[in-house]
Symmetry: C2
Subunit: 555 residues, 2 copies
């Protein structure tokens, strides 16, 4: 049985799920022993510890002369000491070019088989990936497991499914038969989905696998070779993915350089040189807007970006203000606000929020919000684990600096102790009250646990501001609370025009930060927060070109 | 019965045809009286003559204060004297913005109904469009009828079908139902295909409808409003399309400014100002590479280009050299080489071309080619009508100048007399022999009836040059003649990598210049000849954004 035959049933289900857009997940999201094995967690932790202080020698790609690595755990604030092979850009490109010659000639079925098999292998390594993710990104254990493991694998599967579907969208060949009156003109025609060439996937420090695997698998399924350029601070989680892809390639007598790890260091970043190399045709990027926009403007490249955005919450009217405050408090605490989907700007009318028990004033709601934040943060069984640690020192500094913004600090950020890691870099959310006329402050992304409560004239102004910010500065998510149908429609329309998905009236255990594979398009591509979307058809069709050849049918 | 219901059967067939890619045409390509009516041709000619020297007053868009027009017939070399409403860019954009507010809210069905109805109306005007096309572009009657009428309408239908299909690719709403163990998380989700906004379609002087209608209909079906900016030398053909779209809009109580004609003059071109306007989100362009590349680099715009290319013919081995020469001679004569798909560079090995009767030397094949050109050109019943007239004086000058190129002039260009139009601007093909080392000469587009016979070392070099030119300077078509299977595969692969479709071994009544709707992707988007393709899925998906909203199911 070929790898394609082995995985074909899952692929078929995934393609169906792409269109159904109801709940679908191929990889169980809970790290349950019953699912993953009784010793899976302990084994994963051991494997992670064994990496520390050593060369990462699992890769099958062309050996390197130099090794380096600078990852540091936000939980221990110590170096991991893992080193990765280092290459000149020319060598990565040359290796990729050679691998392209054979990878592009495989059928979509063959490529799908290889890639699906690699996900199957990665599944057995979700726990070590989880620990690797914790100790590079600062994510809490549960998020690290889910986001870097099953959720990333589901997103990868989604990209494979979308690519496979598009590759099969048009016939391989047909006879074109045109009646000309006395005779028919007949041509044999064939269509080829021609991959664009070498693809570079540039990772970020906070979601090293989730934000990279769609580009990696999206490029690979469509016949391109990939150079994975992780953030120098978060290499290990994606290195394990790459190692498993290379294992399956090698076992199937394919060139392991089809997917290379091109790690670098803070002192010698290769990203620009890679991106500008004329042989590099595709670039995937997650990160800051400045660099993303520079990449988007590179001539002759197809570029997919997720940049920064300013996410808003519009508060108009609620059924239960405490539940709303609790839900939003969780959203700003989750991974210390270091998600691209975390809310930053909370627009609240100066006259307050309508509720069944009457108006809730701005100050009352602010108090409820602060109470919920404190209650979560100060719960030793939840707070430290929901918050995780702060990936970058700069984020901690930004949180402290935010207290000097021209607003009223309603809640100061604190350092909480993580029971497992005494030295963890932590920061609880800072909450600042601002007037709606302070647009210069709230119209940029303040990455980290920073929540701005913005006092607007009314909901009209709240909507107008949320829309304007999304259109001019980008937004990846939006929360809205209203019990009035006409306001609901107004928000849905205004934010749709700003290409921003809205989560309405979320309470309980679901949050605006969350985005599910096979259902939620992640980033829409229609506002400045990024030009690409996980995983719409464009995300894969732009990675190859339809070329048709034709020839008269022989008489 | 709604317009959608009326046209739904055709739409369904067109969507099927998009995927089948076999022959499909909704609009009969022959100007047969039996199909279009006994008096259709004469009526069309009369209608065309009635336009001359007057204001074009058929448009329903906001009236203008100024009128101007500078079209000139390449057949008479006299001004048509037709004037069109002129607007400041700000007025066109303001009108479009207003129309967008309602057009975007129509359903895909409603928009499809309106647009399909407009094609039905245009069908009744194919003859006047044909005469308008002849006397602006210089095309011969038959090409003018086919390209600007039925073939353009088929391409428009193709864009409507592709857009309609993509708009319906994902469900309008679903319940997302995630099992959480003890309970299910349930969200109502909905997806909206949000149009990007104002679309500007920039026309060219040689194919004023064929090259513009895909962008116009592609943008309209996906909910964008359109400003049509024709070439100042070829307005009337597309003005008639726009008039019919506006008629249907007005009859259905919709804003006629949904699709405006934004004509300008050579002395006061509005293209740049329009393209750079911040409210303009989509740009379609056919024309020169310099301007096309400038448009592609505009930040924040989605741009679709067809620019220039250098089309090659690779001659390796043939079954019947005379038939091959005849086919290629027709290709260079057709519309005096003014098609973007016309061949320019003919690569012939210095040792000649293999054939069943032995080697045909370079000189022998050159002679056969010249003989076939002369025989067609000097046939008074065919030559003048196949050649048509030369649209621009610059093209005539380029043909004359080409005789000074550093090659051997094998055939000089001549002026032939058109029996119907004594004053027609004509030019027969010039044929020049060049050595393969003269790459600086043959690596640019020499627009017009200019054929370069390039002597290569062998077929390997021919293929390498054709591939390199396509990759570095772009190519829209490629012809190849070989009877050897391995060379066939080699060419198919090399040109596929250069994103160039190859027509193999064409003889008889089909030519490499021709591209059929619903089957041949026109321009692939994968080389410098343009970044877009008629009509692949990307051509329509890039015109809108998928945005999903969600809300918990009420308990």
């Amino acid at each position: 049985m070929s790898l394609f035959q082995k995985h074909q049933p899952l692929l078929a289900k995934a393609i169906e799920a792409l269109h159904a857009r109801t709940f679908f997940a191929a990889f169980p999201e809970h790290p349950a022993p019953a699912v993953y094995g009784e010793t899976a967690d302990a084994d994963g932790q051991t494997k992670f510890k064994n990496y520390l202080g050593k060369k990462f020698e699992e890769l099958k790609q062309t050996p390197a002369n130099a090794w380096a690595g600078e990852e540091e755990s936000p939980y221990t604030q110590e170096r991991l000491g893992i080193s990765y092979p280092q290459y000149p850009v020319s060598a990565l490109v040359e290796n990729s070019k050679k691998a392209f010659a054979s990878w592009r000639k495989l059928s979509a079925d063959e490529r799908a088989g290889i890639l699906l098999e690699s996900l199957d292998r990665v599944k057995k390594r979700f726990f070590e990936i989880a620990y690797a993710t914790m100790h590079t990104t600062g994510q809490g254990y549960m998020m690290a497991f889910q986001a870097s493991g099953p959720h990333a694998a589901d997103r990868a599967l989604e990209a494979i499914a979308a690519g496979y579907e598009e590759l099969n969208r048009f016939p391989v060949n047909v006879t074109w038969d045109k009646p000309m009156g006395k005779f028919n003109l007949q041509l044999n025609k064939e269509w080829r989905a021609v991959p664009k060439g070498i693809s570079v996937v540039i990772g970020c420090s906070t979601f090293p696998t989730w934000n990279s695997v769609t580009g990696i698998y999206g490029s690979l399924i469509t016949g391109n070779t990939v150079i994975v350029k992780p953030h120098p601070g978060a290499i290990l989680p994606i290195a394990i993915f790459v190692a498993e892809i290379q294992n399956v390639l090698t076992e199937n007598n394919l060139d392991p350089n089809t997917c290379q790890l091109g790690a670098d260091t803070f002192g010698h970043m290769i990203t620009k040189e890679l991106a500008e190399h004329p042989e590099v045709k595709l670039i995937d990027f997650t990160g800051n807007s400045l660099f993303g926009s520079y990449l988007e403007a590179l001539p002759g490249k197809t570029v997919f970006t997720e940049k920064t955005g300013v996410n808003s919450v519009i508060l108009d009217s609620v059924n239960d203000a405490d539940k709303v405050a609790a839900n939003l408090a969780f959203s700003v605490n989750l991974y210390s606000g270091q998600m691209c989907t975390a809310p930053q700007n909370f627009f609240i009318p100066e006259n307050g929020i309508d509720s069944p028990s009457g108006k809730i004033s701005f100050d009352e709601f602010a108090q409820k919000f602060i109470t919920q934040i404190n209650s979560l943060v100060d719960n030793p069984k939840a707070g430290p684990f929901v918050l995780g640690a702060v990936q970058s020192k700069k984020t901690s500094e930004r949180v402290i600096d935010s207290e000097k913004l021209a607003g009223k600090v309603l809640l100061k950020s604190r350092v909480v102790e993580n029971p497992q890691f005494k030295n963890a870099r932590t920061a609880t959310p800072v909450v600042i009250e601002l007037d709606a006329n302070k647009k210069e402050i709230f119209s940029k992304e303040l990455f980290g646990p920073i929540a701005l409560l913005i006092k607007t004239k009314n909901t009209e102004q709240s909507i107008a501001l949320a829309q304007e910010l999304a259109q001019t500065h980008g937004a990846i998510s939006c929360g809205a609370y209203t019990t009035r149908a006409e306001v609901h429609d107004q928000i849905a329309d205004a934010m749709a025009l700003a290409a921003t998905p809205v989560s309405f009236n979320l309470t309980g255990g679901i949050y605006m930060n969350q985005n599910a594979a096979f259902s939620d398009f992640h980033v829409t591509g229609g506002n400045p927060s990024g030009n690409a979307s996980f995983t719409n058809p464009e995300y894969v069709t732009k990675r190859f070109t339809w070329v048709g050849h034709r020839e008269p049918v022989k008489a």
